[in-house]
């Protein structure tokens, strides 16, 4: 309980810090700019960070893979392809996440199919399948960008990951999905713990492994697809945060889901704030670049030193 209060206090501090930082200083900021630009962006970064970390926590468990998250498995790229297609077809905001979800699920299916090739579901096979999916989806997105040059100009920046043009309508939509995801996975955390066992043991403990795994895969894909639809591909939050949380709070999914959500939210919010203020001229870096940089370094660290200790 003390830990939770501590994290909540940190969350509040990060929120205040993020709201006070930006190209326009606190003193020159008017109410309109604060309410319509900065506040929605801060809330959205918070929600997206939470969802990415949650989907990472789920994917690492379900694929039994320490290197899995929406980005490394290629699900995010598949969802991005869906979202780009949605944009090409001129679909409205509510439908783009739906198309992204369908593509994310298809992507997941492809990873499964490729991963099954060696019958072991070894984690390197899954990651290789993810790389393949990433390459194919990126190629198709590049083709679409080339072909629909005019209408997809904004896609380039969006794909790098970032929070632009955030409206309250989007926030409500994303918040609803984030809440559904959190309540669903948090209420089922004890079942998720059983999925840490091999399939035979988990089945013998009363969990219908196939059914539960499918359910949570759809949930992870949904979280990834919705985040991609609003903020492009933001990698590595889902990879780093669940590991960090396991290292600090232990493996129990009850704590992992809760703290991954909170710490993921704080992490992305801080990264976004940093990306807003890091260039002195007032220009900003796409947040995806920032998380990819931090995440890439963490990836190296994880591969070299820590896998055995927190996995």
């Amino acid at each position: 309980m003390k830990k939770l209060v501590f994290i909540l206090i940190i969350t509040l501090a990060v929120f205040v810090f993020s709201l006070s930082c930006g190209a326009v200083g606190w003193t020159q900021l008017d109410v309109d700019m604060f309410l319509n630009i900065r506040l929605p962006r801060v809330i959205m970064a918070f929600l997206v960070g939470s969802m990415l970390a949650q989907s990472g926590a789920l994917l690492q468990l379900l694929l039994r893979n320490p290197l899995a998250d929406g980005f490394t498995t290629g699900i995010a790229s598949a969802a991005a392809l869906g979202a780009v297609l949605g944009m090409v077809l001129g679909l409205g905001f509510v439908f783009i996440p739906v198309v992204a979800l369908v593509f994310a699920l298809v992507g997941l299916g492809i990873i499964f199919h490729l991963g099954r090739a060696d019958k072991t579901f070894h984690f390197t096979t899954i990651i290789l399948a993810g790389i393949v999916l990433n390459i194919i989806c990126s190629a198709i997105i590049s083709f679409l960008k080339y072909y629909f040059d005019e209408s997809l100009g904004a896609v380039v920046f969006w794909l790098m990951g970032g929070f632009y043009g955030i409206t309250y309508a989007k926030i409500i939509f994303v918040a609803v999905v984030a809440c559904i995801g959190f309540i669903w996975s948090y209420s089922q955390a004890s079942t998720l713990n059983i999925l840490a066992f091999d399939d035979l043991s988990a089945n013998s403990l009363g969990v219908d492994v196939k059914k539960e795994r499918k359910k949570f895969f759809v949930l992870a894909a949904m979280l990834t697809a919705v985040t991609v639809s609003v903020s492009g591909i933001i990698g590595f939050v889902g990879l780093i945060v669940p590991h960090l949380v396991r290292g600090i709070f232990g493996p129990d999914m009850n704590t992992n889901i809760l703290y991954s959500s909170l710490i993921g939210a704080n992490f992305l919010l801080l990264a976004d704030t940093l990306s807003r203020i890091i260039i002195p001229s007032g220009a900003e870096l796409p947040v995806g670049v920032m998380t990819a940089f931090i995440g890439g370094l963490f990836f190296v660290f994880l591969l070299k030193y820590k896998v055995k200790q927190i996995w």
Binding site: S190, N193, I194, F197, D198, L200, S204, R246, G250, W311
Partner: protein, 243 residues
């Protein structure tokens, strides 16, 4: 009511077929399944432990067909130790054994669950290891932890697939004693007849997917062992030694 009743069971997988005409067990019976690698022991376990639903014939546990149980209901009646197991994420030994209470509690662990967990940890000499991470243990230690997890399930029927593999002799003896004292129906598979002697009253020999022979444990003859394992045995103070 029988604990287990198998009627014309048939399982086919790749080039292997398991066919069992009839096998039944009364409550409290302790049965050993013996046979070479690939004789069908694990295949049989995976069917009667409600893991593999692809079979023909009838399997009844405590008077009910397997299909009539939900996975959770079944786990409250039957605990199963598979031959190979795994657990990711760095769960401690204590947490691993506590997870055995899941079928009874669905994750809402209370005082009684903690007490039972401590009981089985002590019984299987695991108290010293209780804070250690499961993945960091040796093969034999992992086996004992999983056995404690299975027994912590507190079900009336227990299936154990090769529980003695990788165990030190002193733990084989200790676990045989514990299993012998349990008032539960047990089916236990093994490679070595000597490992099940002392706590299983009945033996079923499997060979190439069929019941080759069944008898009381104290009536086994060298010739049967020779036919099953294709090695000569001599009897020495009630134990069989391959020569």
């Amino acid at each position: 009511m029988k604990a287990l009743n198998i009627d014309h069971l048939s399982v086919t997988k790749d080039n292997f077929a398991l066919k069992i005409k009839e096998l039944s067990l009364n409550n409290g019976d302790k049965l050993a399944l013996l046979g070479e690698n690939g004789a069908g022991k694990s295949t049989l376990f995976n069917v009667i432990a409600k893991i593999n639903p692809h079979y023909q014939g009838k399997v009844r546990i405590l008077g009910k067909n397997l299909e009539e149980y939900t996975q959770l209901e079944f786990a409250r009646k039957v605990a199963y130790l598979p031959q190979f197991f795994d657990l990711i994420f760095g769960f401690s030994v204590f947490e691993t054994v506590l997870l055995g209470r899941y079928p009874q509690t669905q994750g809402r662990y209370g005082q009684r669950d903690y007490q039972l967990t401590a009981y089985w940890l002590e019984k299987l000499h695991l108290l010293e290891l209780k804070q250690r991470k499961f993945q960091e243990l040796s093969g034999g230690e992992k086996k004992r932890v999983m056995l404690a997890r299975v027994l912590n399930q507190d079900s009336s029927i227990v299936f154990l697939d090769e529980p003695f593999a990788m165990l030190d002799v002193k733990f084989v003896q200790m676990i045989k004693k514990i299993l012998g004292q349990l008032n539960k129906t047990i089916i236990c598979s093994a490679h070595d007849f000597n490992q099940i002697k002392g706590f299983c009253s009945r033996v079923v020999f499997l060979k190439q997917g069929k019941i080759f022979y069944q008898t009381q444990t104290n009536q086994i003859k060298e010739e049967v062992l020779k036919d099953v394992f294709e090695v000569d045995f001599i009897k020495c103070s009630g134990y069989f030694v391959p020569v």
